[in-house]
Symmetry: C2
């Protein structure tokens, strides 16, 4: 018995010792903090972050920053910058700084106004266009409202016969010269605004030999049916006109310091060597004045698609009809270029785990006048996003990666503030930037959401919009995704809301097209199917006030709130997700569509494709290769051990650098700062993003080329570059085996 | 008692439970592997790695790969590639692949030999230069020895008067034209080899209007006193001549596919549009033939520094003296350019922790003939390094980062194999490459070590050489560092062995100057103070045999072994150190010296500096800023928690990307593929590395400029670019605060 009892006691002891040891071991094992931070589920914080963004606050911010005109380079715009800096600090950002650059801006001469005259045979001015827009009610006492002008116009007083060239597109000038046999050399062209960027119109006029160019807003392009002109509605009054720069920078930033930030010590080219400056006078007018210039024009009646909605014949000219033949048009342009200090405001939240990874939310602050829509509807949204992020920081949250908020200056003068900062920080951005979300105007219509972004962000945009409520009345409980999906379904092959390609014309340009940082933008928009006008009627006029938003575009400010939540959720999830929410398979799908679409475009010239042995096979094969690499990468992601910080970083680096892989350091032909091989504006229209822009432009040039054999060689070269780039991008998704 | 006993028992129990629990806890705690790999001290492995590299093996490899001529594009060079691939696999690399490109090469026409004649007034050839070098003993039966030629020479048979232009440098042509008043237009120039890259001589001749250029090896530049010509010594026989390409690629790689890898689908320019191809005939001769061409020359006696060591007057011409005046010189050049397949061999060892970080050891395999020195002394060293690394892999070692070994092809034709691969992999390299170590000829003299590298590698080179024994006889127990230090102390401000700047002329070019990857090279060299000849006498001749190394340069093969150990230790420590062994403070020190030195150079034109308001202040201020940033970064390194894998990676990324920060995406003026703002060859000599090459070239151009005001503007622009780049690089050493 004793023996047995001792045995039993021993067994008991062993069991106890073992159990206790195992217990201790287990507790020790699990008590030890893992090196991978226990990433607290951030969805809880995301919810707080989005709910904290308030419609009323956005209204307040918009009201505050649209009281006074704040053109880039003016005192008032500096004051707003200082106020934003102060408030961002107060909201709780880790750091906020003012970053100045000295760039070339352009202002009307205050003592010599710009206008256009009709002059009689004695040289007397028998008609002059208006010197300013009628100021809207409530703003009568405001000074410093800059009259409509074309920034960076050459000075001069050219006089001559007018020629009407429709929208001033490459194809319009080509039709004019080839089919209609009209030469504009030494003449002044008049074109309507719309379809393409105004700088391209000016370049086309210069290339055609015109000695001046007048641009007008035609109701066909800037008037919504059944809507009153402002202030009774949101249409452009007849005396309203569209300001805007007429540069052809192609991404160069400050015309005098291309490629380098415009700092105090920076070498500046002389203005004659500046990039993209037109050498002819340019001026914008409203349709009220346009009628009077077009009314007596002679020459042929144009084709129907050249006719706008004014009660005139749209005769092409040159010059006026019989009775008025001796009258000429004279432009009086005295606009000055001058190097001027501008100010970006840069605020940062330091990333907790990866301070060297940047997610950027940037939008401009400078406005042509009040900027009620452009850009302050966007700036108010950024302001509210910063406020909400600050609140979250105070509750103990800190994002995994660094978030940078930017209030850019001088966007209206050629994206100058954002481009100079990109040039200044190019190395950091190239190595560290995860994504750039743009925050220009948050609204341009009352219909639904509009998103333009790089393909790898598609999935994130869909996920996010499913978590945000629709701002539309009567859609309580409906998600933004559903609301958007219902209104704008992807046209072709996919049952999902439409997402478009990025073009240019706003501050994402340097980040996306020059540096290859995954980028996107979101805003509320019009119904593209029924509303045919370009941008929105009062675009760049004095009528872009706080009131036009409050009365017409978004009385409840819920649409702006929804846009704030979309932009905010994008930066939140890009900055705080352990694994970057970028979808490589979406990129593969898009590349396939783009390749098909550009090959299709080339099919127009089937005979020549054969004659010159042009083949898209290498491109299709590269896309196929990319598709396989993306699928394999995606599969590897599924087995990733997220608890291993180095493994995670390695995969995230591949995700981050994918967009960078599409950058060709040599740039597109003749455009060294447009370096994205997949996305860039065509040379013929800065606004529209083309896929495979190198091939697109080469195909576009076929038609106007004097040497088709050479032009087709360029197409082949561009196909080869595109194929190589897609292959190279596929390689970045692999690791040494 | 019972009560007490129970208490005691309880206490006993509690103690036991506690002890067991704590024991278990502790074991559990410590048993759990930390996420930061317990980085086994790698110095033990390094020792094994270096000791495994054997002199005898290097001899064996060199013997094996110098049996037959293996010019790029020939069958024999492919056979060697296949053999290397096979052996690298056998040695144990994780993967070895053959990577082909189709590039433009250049060969003599086999049925129409190249030569130069003196022709009489009837056009009869009264003297012809030799068609080939006398083949060294033992190699008489070898076929496929390409005769001396200038690769990529234009074809043609120009005839005219000779003009002697010393070394054919910019300053020689300038002196000829300005001071001596001689115009070479329509004439044939003859220059001696040496001082600058031969391609620059050809370019200068073309710019001056010459219709042909002859280059000869003068004993003043290719002859060591007291040494016999090969095979009795290592001097160049009189009938030996230097082969070599005469391109001006400026880093473009394959002339027909600049910027893109020369793959099957790649678009190729037509040869007329190729980069850097000369449009005049070029031919190299030995001094035996040179005497006969120079002997009867007329014209002036040149200044003393134009005179070589031949027993001729070195008269400048044009043409021959009185008696021979009617004689002309005719070049007969029939060399063909043709697109040819070349093969790189790429071997990899996958990194254990950071497979996405690359350390590259690359050197070329193609040779003009046998390549006894150039490149096989280097290739044998790489081969032995791979063998030793394979042995180490078999013992269980695996480096932290990926190591890539490369056997490049077609280096002799313009660094083509290495540049095409760099173009092919540019995105991966830009994001992932830590360092590139070059492995061209491992020996060019018998004196001491020579290292050229980026400043951040200085400290590592010193550390390494202290761990490697001197290969010199009688220096047992002396380190390579001491041996080197004794022979070549840094000239100016530092008591340490001299390390020089990287120039170009070997395969590191695309990696360092285009992509900004920290690079270095090491070889055994001559005594620069006493041995004045360029490179080494038999350079690029048929006399570069295995025997010249075995008999003269390194009979024990210990010098090659020492070079193998230096190159090997570099890649080992770059690949396996937890923290990258790159020294940012050294970069700061070097930048300061370079800034002082370039400012000093400008002081030559003191008056103009003032007149044109040229200031170096911005550059000095940028360097100061960089110095502070480097110091702060270095301090942060000291407090780095290396056990935190993410912290470590973040710091390593900053170290890795520092070199990248000096890259200007716009390139140097007119040289888009030379993008390093701190280091590049001058436009006037590809071989020599200049610091701040943009400023250097702009200053160089001052003297020859017709418009000094404009030339000084360019100096100012280059100073501004340099200052900005240094500022930008400083920024990369910081993180958001």
């Amino acid at each position: 018995m004793r023996k047995e009892s001792r045995w039993i006691r021993w067994i008991k002891w062993i069991v106890i010792v073992t159990v206790l040891f195992v217990l201790g071991f287990c507790i020790g094992w699990f008590a030890k903090p893992s090196n991978t931070q226990n990433h607290k589920d951030s969805s809880h914080y995301l919810k707080d972050f989005l709910e904290e963004m308030k419609a009323d606050k956005i209204r307040e911010h918009l009201r505050k920053f649209t009281q006074l005109p704040h053109l880039a380079g003016t005192e008032q715009n500096l004051k707003y910058a200082e106020q934003i800096m102060k408030e961002w600090k107060m909201f709780g950002l880790d750091s906020v700084e003012m970053v100045p650059y000295d760039v070339l801006l352009s202002y009307p001469n205050e003592s010599q106004p710009n206008y256009i005259s009709i002059v009689d045979h004695l040289g007397n001015e028998v008609f002059n266009t208006s010197l300013a827009e009628p100021v809207p009610q409530g703003y009568e006492d405001i000074s410093n409202i800059v009259p409509p002008y074309s920034a960076f116009s050459a000075k001069g007083q050219p006089e001559g016969d007018l020629v009407y060239v429709n929208y001033g597109r490459t194809e319009d000038f080509s039709q004019l010269q080839r089919e209609m046999g009209i030469n504009v050399t030494g003449r002044i062209v008049i074109v309507r605004y719309g379809k393409i960027f105004r700088g391209n119109k000016v370049k086309n006029a210069m290339l055609a030999g015109a000695k001046g160019i007048i641009m007008f807003s035609d109701p066909a392009d800037y008037w919504a049916d059944g809507i009153q002109p402002y202030p009774d509605g949101w249409n452009l009054p007849g005396r309203g006109a569209q300001r805007g720069n007429v540069l052809n920078l192609n991404g160069a930033g400050d015309p005098l310091t291309p490629g380098y930030p415009a700092k105090e010590y920076t070498y500046r080219f002389s203005p004659e060597d500046g990039v993209g400056l037109p050498n002819i006078p340019v001026h914008p007018i409203g349709f009220h004045d346009a009628i009077l210039l077009l009314n007596n024009m002679g020459g042929e009646i144009p084709p129907n698609n050249w006719k706008g909605a004014l009660n005139v014949s749209y005769r092409i000219g040159p010059g006026f009809t019989d009775d008025f033949k001796s009258q000429k048009v004279r432009m009086n342009i005295h606009t000055n270029n001058q190097v001027t200090r501008i100010y970006n405001v840069i605020g940062k939240i330091r990333g907790a785990q990866e301070p060297d990874r940047y997610v950027i939310l940037g939008g401009h602050r400078d406005a042509w006048v009040f900027g009620g829509i452009d850009p302050m509807s966007g700036a108010a949204v950024v302001h509210e996003t910063v406020r909400s992020a600050g609140r979250l920081l105070n509750t103990g949250w800190r994002p995994r990666r660094t978030i940078i908020f930017a209030s850019w200056d001088a966007e209206e003068f050629g994206l100058l503030g954002s481009t100079e900062w990109a040039e200044d920080n190019a190395r950091l951005l190239q190595e560290r930037a995860v994504a750039y979300i743009n925050a220009d105007s948050a609204i341009e219509g009352m219909y639904t959401l509009r998103v333009d972004c790089t393909p790898s962000l598609h999935t994130l945009v869909y996920d996010i919009t499913k978590q945000i409520p629709s701002p539309e009345e009567g859609e309580e409980g409906v998600s933004l995704y559903e609301s958007w999906h219902k209104r704008d379904n992807w046209t072709n092959d996919r049952d999902a809301p439409r997402i478009s390609k990025l073009g240019s014309g706003s501050d994402f340009e340097a980040y996306f097209i020059r540096l290859g940082i995954a980028s996107g933008r979101a805003r509320y928009t019009k119904n593209a199917k029924t509303e045919r006008y370009s941008s929105y009627p009062v675009y760049h006029s004095v009528y872009e006030t706080f009131e036009i938003v409050e009365k017409f575009y978004d009385p409840s400010f819920k649409r702006l709130q929804a846009v704030a939540q979309v932009r905010g959720a994008l930066i939140f999830l890009l900055a705080d997700s352990q694994l970057l929410p970028l979808d490589v398979n979406e990129y593969a799908d898009s590349l396939r569509k783009y390749a098909q679409s550009i090959a299709q475009l080339a099919q127009k010239n089937l005979g020549e494709l054969e004659a010159y042995k042009v083949s898209f096979d290498s491109l299709f094969s590269a896309v196929e290769n990319f598709t396989v690499a993306a699928r394999d990468f995606h599969e590897r992601l599924q087995t990733l051990n997220k608890a291993d910080p180095l493994q995670l970083r390695i995969m995230n680096d591949q995700l981050m650098y994918l967009e960078r892989a599409f950058i060709d350091p040599l740039g597109l032909p003749g455009r060294p700062f447009y370096r994205h091989v997949i996305f860039a504006p065509s040379s013929h229209n800065k606004y529209a993003g083309e896929s495979f822009p190198g091939i697109y432009d080469a195909l576009f040039d076929i038609e106007n080329s004097a040497d088709p054999a050479k032009a087709w060689e360029e197409v082949k070269r561009q196909i080869s570059i595109a194929a190589f780039t897609v292959h190279a991008a596929a390689m970045t998704l692999t690791l040494p085996a």
